[in-house]
Amino acid sequence: MLNGKTKILLITLCVVGILISILSMGIASSPSIVRYNADWPIIIDPSVGADCQSVTANVNLFDPLVSADTNGNIIPHVAESWDVASDGLTYTFHLRSGIKFHDGSELTAEDVKFSMDRMITIGEGISYLWSEAVQEIEVIDKYTVVFHMKTTFGPFLVTLPSFFIVNKELIMANISPGIYDDMGDYGRGYAIDRDVGSGPYMLKDFTGEYLLLEKNPNYFMDISTAPDEFKMIGSSEPILLKTLMSRRELEMTFRWCASETLKSLAEIKGVEIAQWLLGSAEYITMNTRKPPLDDIHVRKALAWAFDYEEAVKIVPGSVQARGPVPLGVPGSDANSFQYHLDLEKAKLELKQSKYYGHFDEYPIDISWNSNKSMEKHAMLLMANATEIGLNVNVVETTWALFCSDSASIETTPGLHVLSANSYYPEAASLLQARYHSSTTGTWLQAEWLLDPVLDEMIEDAIATTDKDERFAKYSAVTRYIIDLCPTIFTIETPERRAYQSAYMDWPVARGEVIPIYKYDNSMRYIKVYPEKREELLKK
């Protein structure tokens, strides 16, 4: 018979033994996988999800009608060829035969028509790219589809790599009651977290913590060297990212990592930082309808008072912006006027202002959200504005609050540090989104320009089908906007991402970037070398 102390000792030993065995249990990991940390939630219905993480999933789950190369040239994808009518009002696409959706059914012209009709009717995400331009889609035969345009839309083809084709038959079989008349909910409830695509990857698992895709064995292109799986993990905690990277359980980080986090990740052996400029910019918007910013001289004074060199130092890899369109975007103007820090010029501008001598009565708020570099840029402007006699207060806000505040002139902040990027590789993407009157009342345009001349210039440029002529018109629009000085064009922001260079070949890191939104996260171009990963783990 054991005494009490011996019993306690034995029980303790048993508990410790069980704990040790639990801790030492290992599970073999999948050999060929790319894991990527992402914001959450991910919405895999291309008619609804338009944010970074949703599009990252969708470029892998779906096929676009056409694709693009690293120079931004449009290349065949689902459509193997296309014809454009001489008046620019009809686009005829000839589809490849034999492309299969993940449920085994064939992708046909009916699916293309359905996808665009659905996109426009739902009216969310990036549907605005096509809703004003596309009149009707006509199915000629199983593999031929014609887009009839309401008006000429010069950049139409370059928008199409962001148009993903969904499985009509599968969605129609899963329609629920909803707000789209005969179409019920248009399959939103179904497609939001189910696989209705034909892309290089298929949905394997979608939980509240990750999205797991597996390679499509029946894909119509050769993707044999691509990783077997792609996993998006909904986390951004620096300590977790560092732990996962060092344990080789994370291959790529998302674009929102702070510089400090990237620096610490780069210290891990075999991890490098990939960096490129691709159509993203940071702006300080000025509410041109709110005193004293309704006076162009005050706006110009602030533009002269901003320390661009210091702003560039705050964000590694950035360069000073030149106008509303980053220089990497086709149609940008490399010769447009560029402000620099000159406090004397700033003071001269203020003297010409109708508010001169009364600036104390007009304090200006500069709001920021998202990341610390934006706060630093706001502080930078505040410091220099004080030197020229303007009273600027830095205010932290949330994205949701900024969006709702942007709904009216009165509530839109005087100044706001905003990050924006082009959705398709042409200047029109930013010019229209940021400065056309149709976007006032939304976060896209806190400037409230409401300038009919500018609207007409933008519309005219977009409607021009000849590329050279269109690009010349973009330059004219750019210069017109710079003259109005509604925005301080601060920096072109780079995309900076940590990745496992020791066992991953990522063309983007070599500078081979396809200039379409989130094509940098297309897994079919990536190669991973599991044996090199194993070597690293052994070391």
């Binding site: 009490g4 249990m25 919405i43 009216g123 939980t207 990750y210 300590i239």
Partner: protein
């Protein structure tokens, strides 16, 4: 008495529903625009407003909203685009599992430390227990979580760093939504142990404060009862200390601890945000906090009401348990009625 408490709770929940609804409707911003995005056309926006009754008066809106809530329909989350109830039914089991394990750690570690400290009061054992309790009280759970991750995941690499299950394993078919329970029911021990490994750090981090405060209260309560006549009488009869401890001392000493535990359950559930964020735990607190940050009004309403139900339910269970532990309380209530 019990029926009265239930009716009172329903009234409180209704009041809470009015409060949430009014708050959600007076915050600035067009909910249709917030749901459908910056570039949605006016036609689409209007269709949405009509479908959601946003074009009606606030009283009519409340009527429709409350009617839907009674049917379990909190509307669509502005962020996830899923029905809120569907979202909650997905994230709630994850948090419940975390909370239950945190709770188990609180009970096992907190009460054990408290009892041992009281038993060996004013010795080095007691001092050590008190130090551990103070350490738990002053250390925020997220600090412990980060330190734990650094030591056990980054340096020692003995515990998983994130999530509920290793990626190579598949979630067991859902019965309760609690992976450990579902795996046990289905006899899948590999999944059970893996899920348990994932629970160790987050649940201990989450339960740290509870363990510490329960250790302090248990110590005080046990120590207080040690001097009672019936304990001295038992000791004078020569009954072994261990028997006195488990048979006579622990039950009355646990009454204040049980009251505290029930309150802790509700607060752990709602305060798990940082721990869930650090360990990428797809839970309810993280969902609720994201909803607040993103101004996801439908989700906020759902989260607050569910939390209200848990809090009120917790209080009712406490009353019941305390009555079981100390029948005098039940008697006093009955006499007063």
């Amino acid at each position: 008495m019990f029926i009265n408490r239930i009716l009172y709770s329903i009234f409180v929940l209704w009041g809470l529903s009015v409060f949430i609804f009014v708050i959600s409707r007076i915050v600035p911003g067009d909910p249709a625009r917030m749901t459908l995005g910056a570039r949605a056309s006016e036609e689409v926006l209007q269709r949405f407003r009509i479908a959601m009754h946003y074009d009606k008066s606030i009283v009519v809106q409340y009527y429709h909203w409350f009617k839907d809530v009674l049917h379990g329909d909190f509307g669509i989350s502005l962020i996830t685009k899923h029905p809120v109830l569907e979202d909650i039914s997905r994230v709630l089991p994850a948090s419940l599992e975390l909370t239950i394990f945190a709770f188990i750690f609180i009970i096992i570690i907190g009460i054990t430390i408290g009892v041992i400290s009281a038993r060996y009061h004013n010795t080095w054992v007691d001092n050590l227990g008190r130090f551990a309790a103070y350490f738990g009280i002053v250390t925020p759970s997220f600090v412990f979580a980060i330190m734990g991750m650094l030591i056990f995941c980054y340096i020692l690499e003995v515990l998983p760093a994130m999530g509920r299950l290793s990626p190579e394993l598949i979630y067991p078919p859902k019965i309760t939504g609690l992976i450990t329970i579902d795996a046990l029911i289905q006899g899948n021990f590999i999944v059970f142990f893996d899920a348990f490994k994932h629970l160790i750090l987050p649940s201990i981090s989450l339960g740290l404060l509870g363990m510490a405060s329960d250790a302090r209260i248990t110590r005080a309560s046990v120590y207080n009862n040690l001097g009672k006549d019936y304990i001295i009488a038992a000791q004078s009869y020569g009954i072994p200390d261990r028997v006195i401890m488990f048979r006579d001392l622990l039950k009355p000493s646990l009454i204040p601890v049980v009251s505290l535990l029930a309150l802790q359950f509700g607060s752990i559930l709602s305060q798990a945000f940082l721990v869930e964020l650090i360990f990428n735990w797809p839970g309810f607190a993280r969902y609720g906090m994201t909803a607040i940050i993103q101004k996801d009004l439908n989700a906020i309403s759902g989260v607050v009401l569910i939390l209200g139900i848990f809090r009120i339910g917790g209080n009712i269970i406490v009353d019941f348990l305390v009555g079981l532990l100390d029948p005098r309380i039940q008697l006093i209530k009955e006499r007063s009625e």
